[in-house]
Point group: C2
DNA sequence: AAAACTGGGGAAATCGGTTTCCTGCACGGC
DNA sequence: GCCGTGCAGGAAACCGATTTCCCCAGTTTT
């Protein structure tokens, strides 16, 4: 007795052979009917498809992959645990790949080289069609050691090998956007508070901030960038330093949203009104920080999901025989909220009991 | 010419047949040698293994899965996008599964029923051995509609079907831990500020908070739970309400870390010193909130990674023929930081410039 | 010395599809 | 009426492993 659509727990899964029997044709013909290959009478094709439908036939992807040589799977390797930055990239990639009927193997190496190597072997054993590697932020990483050549795309953290293709955020553009916005809203004494100088993200943003200001004929408030760490405590401290260095400072551009939030607290405690007396800008558009900040925070969104999507598309191109190389940037965008409101404007949406 | 370990880009992958040829045996014998099955002379086995090593042979997992009927893969479906809570669960599960030589397909349904159904079909087509489903928080969800029976474990958000097995956090224990800690450190007028009443997490924690207090012969400060939303703005507002309702309140137990953080800000602005005059407790142990809070926040850690690991182990048991059923809780733990320091103690670690 | 074991390893079926090659049939042209 | 043509679909090889079955040689048993 051949399985039926309603066999449920009872029988084994429906195979192409069952469909062939029901339709009164050979398995090969079923394959052709389903995949639209070969020459078949429309009537036959319809009969086969109907049989497949009646049995609830779903082709075994492992068997299919075995003969076709393509598994329609890719590996998603996050070298440095999945975090706040890699997660959106991951999801963006998974989204785009899913649309391309490709399934995703998730591998979290927790920053362990041994584990990374192990995962790569495992993925190759499963005959993945390609690999996406996300690293930490923008700092480059050595390329994956691959026993066999496989299409790879690096996302977020680029490969040090220029022959590889990498997708990164455009921190230079982000800094320029912020500076342009601050200048356009009338700020002239702009300070920059950011993370550790040895982080590429911090140094690149700082460099382009200074450059953009200089091109506009403006000098950095306080004369130097305040490098520190990425947390709120540093934001509070750095804001106080900036006020001390230049009491007339009228804007703080922070290297991330946490620093900005710390700065917001320090400014409030120092009695400086944001945005009336001083504007505040963050980076990352991390909703819980940007929305909880008082006032809500103007910040740069790096479009990480878009970066992930682009990485997936780039990978699919490479799998289809159109490889790419080099480092490519994904545009970011400025998200304007209350912390850079036009200075003369009154604070908007002052919620009951939400005293600044 | 058979492929060698160093064939790299040139040739096709090394197959069991290549190994057989090099070792001078049949493919079947190679399989036995590698998997430790059948009867082989030690000398033959060694010769085969050596040949495999020399060629860098790695068995094709798709072929292996086809004959064995097991794919050694599982699907990880997050019904409601991957977020702050589901991510640690995911990673914990992936960790445990990886240790069991099982690879993980990641599927993010973004809360879309259609997409969920699509993913389930796709995963079944790939002949996954089992499924883990993570939902949003503790609120139950209808079970997955499965065309074929497959082992499933629900994590974080339980299934409404008691025949399924679900793993959830132990919110009752969390509330009891907090109350016990507050009472033990001498607090007696304890208020509870939390999220929307219709969220199970909020109502369960509230219920057990009240119950634990009552069992200790203490009434809730203000006489009622302050339900609201999960954000900082509500935390600020609710804290002010709690102070108004009971000016002598000496502890605020908050339903999550964001509410607690908002409360911390409101308390500071109201001139109440934490923890000297009033203790503050959060829930979730979300590091960026708990560590950035002034003072650092005592909170409940739900052990979400552990929950994910347990879900994976439960699933592997089910796959091996030992199914489970019912809702199981994973113990949580209290993380004590400065916000509940013994009232008489001086604030510790007063960092330079970090005025409270 | 014949019969019965036993250990070692090969041949071939199998998993579930895909794809190539080939055949049978109907049709058209001469 | 015969031959070439083309269409529809079948047979079988193949993808890369696993596993059963079987055979052969050497050893033990009677």
């Amino acid at each position: 007795m051949p399985p039926t659509a309603a066999d449920g727990a009872a029988g084994r899964a429906v195979t192409i052979h069952d469909v062939a029997t029901l339709a009164g044709v050979s398995p090969g013909t079923v394959s052709k009917a389903i995949n639209g290959r070969g020459k078949l009478r429309p009537e036959t094709r319809e009969r086969v498809l109907d049989a497949a439908r009646r049995l609830g036939f779903r082709p075994n992807e492992m068997a299919r992959g075995l003969s076709s040589g393509r598994s329609f799977t890719v590996g998603l390797v996050t070298t440095d645990s999945v975090g706040r930055f890699s997660l959106p990239v991951l999801l963006g990639a998974e989204d785009a790949l899913g649309a391309g009927r490709i399934s995703v193997f998730l591998c979290d190496t927790r920053g362990d080289q041994i584990r990374e190597q192990h995962y790569v072997r495992t993925l190759l054993d499963r005959r993945i069609d390609g690999l996406i590697v996300t690293g930490r932020r923008t700092d480059p990483r050595p390329p994956l050691r691959l026993p066999q050549p496989v299409p790879v795309v690096y996302a977020l953290g680029p490969s040090t090998d220029p022959a590889d293709v990498s997708l990164v955020t455009d921190d230079a553009e982000g800094a320029r956007l912020v500076v342009a916005h601050l200048l356009a809203t009338g700020r002239r004494r702009i300070a920059h508070l950011t993370g550790p100088e040895h982080h590429l993200a911090a140094s690149v943003r700082a460099e382009h901030t200074v450059r953009a200001l200089r091109e506009a004929g403006v000098e950095l408030s306080g004369g130097r960038v305040h490098f520190g760490s990425w947390d709120e405590a540093w934001g509070r401290q750095a804001a106080r330093m900036a006020l001390l260095a230049d009491p007339a400072v009228d804007a703080l551009f922070c290297g991330n949203d946490q620093i900005a939030r710390g700065a917001a607290d320090a400014l409030r405690e120092a009695g400086r009104r944001v945005p009336d007396e001083i504007a505040l800008v963050g980076y990352d558009n991390w909703d819980v920080m940007a929305e909880a900040c008082r006032p809500t925070l103007t910040t740069v969104d790096m479009n990480l999901a878009e970066l992930g999507r682009t990485a997936a598309l780039t990978l699919m191109d490479a799998i289809d025989g159109r490889p790419a190389r080099g480092v490519r940037t994904v545009p970011c965008r400025l998200v304007v909220r209350d912390s850079t409101g036009v200075p003369t404007a009154q604070p908007r949406q002052r919620r009951a009991g939400d005293g600044g």
